[in-house]
């Protein structure tokens, strides 16, 4: 029987770089981070969707998971949430092993993803009531009113979810994701298909939420401006592996670029960061 993978020491956590970024050190000792992922591998038949990924995310930080289509971002997030079982490797969320101790964790986290919807025939209020009850939210009616006020949903509360525009649905999905005031928020493309104004509004709200609750946010995105604006740290993935992992400024400096978009193109097209070799 193969021995379980060990948690890496902090020196080994930096992938494809000799220097340990400040963000990793800030993640604190093993067990205290919001998310700890060690040697995570996911095989779909012969395809390596995620290939030996290791990282730790400090509590209270906002981390962006960047990568093109098929880079392994969604699978990585799904394994963190326990929706997908890893082929090998370990995941700890808020100090608990996933999926074994998911009962200790699921009430304290939440997520938003374009891969799921909320029931279309139910009104926004009914949907939030159901999820509020599932998460055992206290003073639920007040919480729904508060979220409706924060997310500009007051006029939509008694409308069926299926009758809302894409932007309104995203706000409702965000309200669901925040209903239990999660310590950890996992977001997969949170502003996909939104107009720039709504997208900006969602980002602002996420920033406010993080400040108010000292929450940890992990978001997968294709939107480089979004990542630059929201994230303290960026993990770039390509073909299931971590290509780079640092603060947006450090990564841009390493690639001698002024935007993450240019870095993204460099990574996608196989151009190396300065000081690294293939």
């Amino acid at each position: 029987m193969r021995s379980p993978p060990q948690w890496p020491n902090e020196q080994a956590e930096m992938v494809n770089s000799d220097a340990m970024p400040a963000q990793l050190a800030a993640a604190g000792p093993v067990g205290s981070a919001a998310i700890e992922v060690a040697h995570l591998i996911k095989l779909y038949k012969t395809t390596r969707a995620v290939d030996d990924v290791t990282f730790r995310i400090a509590r209270g930080s906002v981390t962006g998971l960047l990568g093109g289509n098929g880079a392994g971002k969604t699978t990585t997030i799904a394994m963190i949430m326990g929706l997908v079982l890893p082929t090998s490797g370990r995941v700890r969320v808020l100090g608990h092993a996933m999926p074994e101790e998911s009962a200790e964790v699921l009430g304290r986290i939440n997520f938003e993803s374009p891969y799921v919807d909320m029931p279309m025939r139910l009104t926004v209020r009914q949907n939030l009531t159901i999820f509020g009850r599932l998460y055992a939210v206290k003073d639920l009616a007040e919480r729904i009113e508060q979220l409706a006020s924060d997310l500009d949903l007051k006029d939509l509360l008694d409308r069926a979810n299926g009758k809302l525009s894409a932007g309104q649905k995203t706000r409702v999905a965000l309200a669901k994701a925040l209903i239990n005031q999660p310590e950890l928020l996992l977001l997969d493309e949170p502003t996909a298909s939104l107009d720039p104004d709504t997208a900006d509004w969602v980002r602002q709200h996420l920033q406010d939420y993080r400040k108010r609750h000292d929450a940890t946010i992990l978001l997968a995105s294709h939107n480089m401006l979004e990542v630059e604006r929201l994230c303290d740290r960026v993990i770039i993935m390509k073909r299931g592996r971590i290509e780079d992992d640092d603060s947006p400024d450090q990564i841009m400096a390493r690639y001698n670029r002024t935007t993450l978009e240019d870095v993204f193109l460099d990574v996608a097209r196989g151009r190396m960061a300065e000081g690294t070799s293939s």
């Binding site: 079982l85 999926p99 998460y135």
Partner: protein, 272 residues
């Protein structure tokens, strides 16, 4: 094993939330409500007139008044019980809401209990009007069966939940491409469960298989009651014992299929 361990602390609050979710859905959609009543009503009217016709021409059926109508109603409890369970499950697949539920603190056992409760609610909406039609159109008082009816009902509903849990697991694992199993699997049991005829008419080797199915005991028990006016408690006990095994097996298979769905990543999509 770890998933089984998480079933220890079952929350009535979360079960209630899921029942509320399906109740909201039913109340928001009159076609869904109508569909629940429409088919059972059509069934009882068709079979009721057939029973009347046969009874006029055959002395045996005249003596065994109500066996056809009784069989139709009991079959509908079995079939609609499973559909009531499975359709509520399918609603989550159609709504692409399963990921939200699986990521919430809702446990699989709580989800299944909520589906069982909803199967009873949906069954009541369909079968109560059916029994009233049987009473007023065909002078067959289903509830006059009395206490044995409770034994028949409990056994049939347990079977329907077992089948419902099993097919829901298949859809969970294989996506909506497996949806047709939800609608058709129960009909596969129909010839062997001997809904409309006694087990004795089957070839001997098929009788052995028929007796492994819990509903066979119920339909045989119903005929004993309506034709010979005897309540066969032994048949009900056998049915209950087999049901217990079937229910445990279905739950274990559901958990295995859920784990397999997580392994292949089908909870993320849930599509075809």
């Amino acid at each position: 094993m770890s998933e089984l361990a998480t079933h220890r602390a079952i929350s009535a609050h979360r079960i209630q939330a899921m029942v509320l979710r399906y109740w909201y859905l039913l109340m928001s959609s009159w076609p869904r409500l109508l569909e629940l009543i429409y088919w059972p009503a059509l069934q009882i009217i068709t079979w009721g007139f057939l029973q009347n016709y046969i009874a006029q021409n055959d002395g045996f059926f005249a003596r065994a008044g109500g066996t056809l109508i009784g069989a139709v109603i009991l079959w509908d409890i079995l079939f609609r019980g499973q559909l009531g369970f499975s359709i509520s499950f399918l609603e989550e697949m159609w709504a692409r809401n399963l990921g939200n539920l699986m990521m919430s603190p809702l446990k699989p056992i709580e989800f299944l209990i909520a589906l069982m409760i909803m199967s009873l609610v949906r069954l009541a909406i369909g079968v109560i009007p059916m029994t009233l039609l049987a009473l007023f159109f065909f002078d067959f008082n289903f509830f006059a069966i009395g206490l044995p009816l409770i034994a028949f009902f409990c056994n049939l509903i347990f079977t329907s939940w077992s089948i419902g849990i099993f097919v829901s697991g298949l859809v969970l694992r294989n996506g909506l491409g497996a949806e047709s199993i939800v609608w058709t699997l129960m009909f596969g049991l129909m010839p062997l469960a001997c809904v409309y005829y006694p087990v004795a008419v089957l070839p001997t080797w098929l009788q052995t298989i028929a007796w492994t199915l819990p509903p066979t005991y119920v339909f045989e028990g119903m005929r004993a009651l309506l034709i010979d006016h005897i309540f066969r408690g032994d048949l009900m006990v056998w049915s209950l014992l087999i049901n217990a095994g079937l229910f445990a097996a279905s739950f274990a298979i559901f958990l295995a299929l859920l784990r397999s769905a997580k392994r292949v990543g089908s909870l993320l999509g849930g599509g075809e």
